[in-house]
């Protein structure tokens, strides 16, 4: 993990995050939802950042499972934690929008239920890594790949099943005035995800180095 990347990525994400509210305020109101629709500009990108983290988790888990590369395993742990963090953002901002748009905080429909299950799979991954003991890396890698396999189903769930959630097709058909703040926020979240991944990856590297030092200390 490149240590020099972190300051640059952090500053860039800060620029995106500080300017995003200004751009969002200037965006037009949606005709049926009004002001509350603007939550979408943080809600959707948080899920996209989560999906990016899960993609990294799945690929890194696959590499670790088939090639036993410790660096890939460290990257997978970092990405799994980030996926939980961004998923949490999505799970909190969603009901804040839903209570106004639907009149209820939560609906147990296909999209929302799948989102919770995906978050729980990721939490299970972290619990397995923390309390699973020796050999839990391989089990966790399998779980990480399983989490990645869930993402496409979650993404298209609004197209397959009848849900109260807005359909995925809303995003590609957005008018430019809605698109600019969305893609601006999206860029901010992706850069933030990469910045946090760099920092979290560094933590895993240092932990691995510490383990090596303890082993060296015991062998002496």
């Amino acid at each position: 993990m490149n240590r020099r990347l972190f300051p640059g990525l952090t500053v860039l994400s800060l620029v995106f995050f500080v300017t995003a509210p200004i751009i969002i305020v200037r965006a037009p109101y949606e005709s049926t939802m009004g002001l509350v629709q603007k939550i979408f500009y943080f809600h959707f990108p948080s899920w996209m950042a989560m999906f990016l983290a899960i993609f990294i988790l799945g690929v890194a888990s696959g590499i670790y499972l088939f090639r036993r590369a410790p660096a890939a395993d460290r990257l997978a742990v970092a990405a799994a934690e980030l996926a939980v963090v961004f998923g949490l953002m999505g799970l909190i901002t969603g009901p804040l929008w839903g209570v106004k748009a639907w009149g209820v905080w939560w609906q147990w429909d296909a999209r929302l239920t799948m989102a919770v299950i995906l978050e729980l799979i990721l939490v299970a991954y972290l619990l397995l890594r923390r309390y699973g003991g020796a050999g839990s890396e391989q089990l966790a890698a399998g779980l990480g790949m399983f989490a990645m396999a869930n993402v496409p189903f979650l993404y298209v769930s609004t197209e397959i099943w009848r849900t109260v959630h807005p359909r995925t097709s809303v995003v590609p058909t957005l008018p430019v005035d809605f698109g600019i703040p969305l893609w601006w926020s999206f860029s901010g979240f992706i850069v933030l995800c990469l910045a946090l991944l760099t920092a979290r990856g560094r933590l895993e590297e240092q932990r691995a180095a510490l383990d090596q030092l303890y082993l060296a200390l015991e062998e002496e």
């Binding site: 509210p21 002001l35 603007k38 963090v85 909190i92 901002t93 804040l96 929008w97 932990r207």
Partner: protein, 106 residues
């Protein structure tokens, strides 16, 4: 002819009774006034739009959503920084212990 004290007692009793009656009437009147003026008792009347005073304001929800995102991002960054600090401190300690062990044999 009744004694004068009995008349006073009767007048006082009448005054107290009148006061109690007034108090009960006024209290009851206040209670009725506190009820919603047009709470549907005889039948429900449909309407299409929620009155503005009943609508959930969107601005606090929007501010809450953005605050949560900021709080989680900053909080998570802080936990990474703290954990990294702890590990790097431990790393320095163990390195020092190893180098101290190696020194006498040199």
């Amino acid at each position: 002819m009744r004694p004068r004290g009995a008349n006073h007692a009767r007048a006082a009793s009448l005054g107290v009774a009148l006061f109690v009656l007034c108090a009960v009437w006024a209290g009851g009147h206040t209670t009725f006034a506190a009820q919603p003026p047009d709470a549907a008792q005889d039948g429900f009347v449909p309407m299409n739009d929620i009155p503005p005073e009943d609508q959930l304001p969107a601005a606090p929800l929007l501010v809450a959503a953005y605050s949560v995102v900021w709080a989680i991002a900053i909080g998570y960054m802080w936990t990474i920084w703290r954990r990294l600090g702890t590990v790097e401190q431990e790393l320095a300690d163990v390195s020092r212990r190893i180098s101290e062990r190696e020194r006498p044999g040199e």
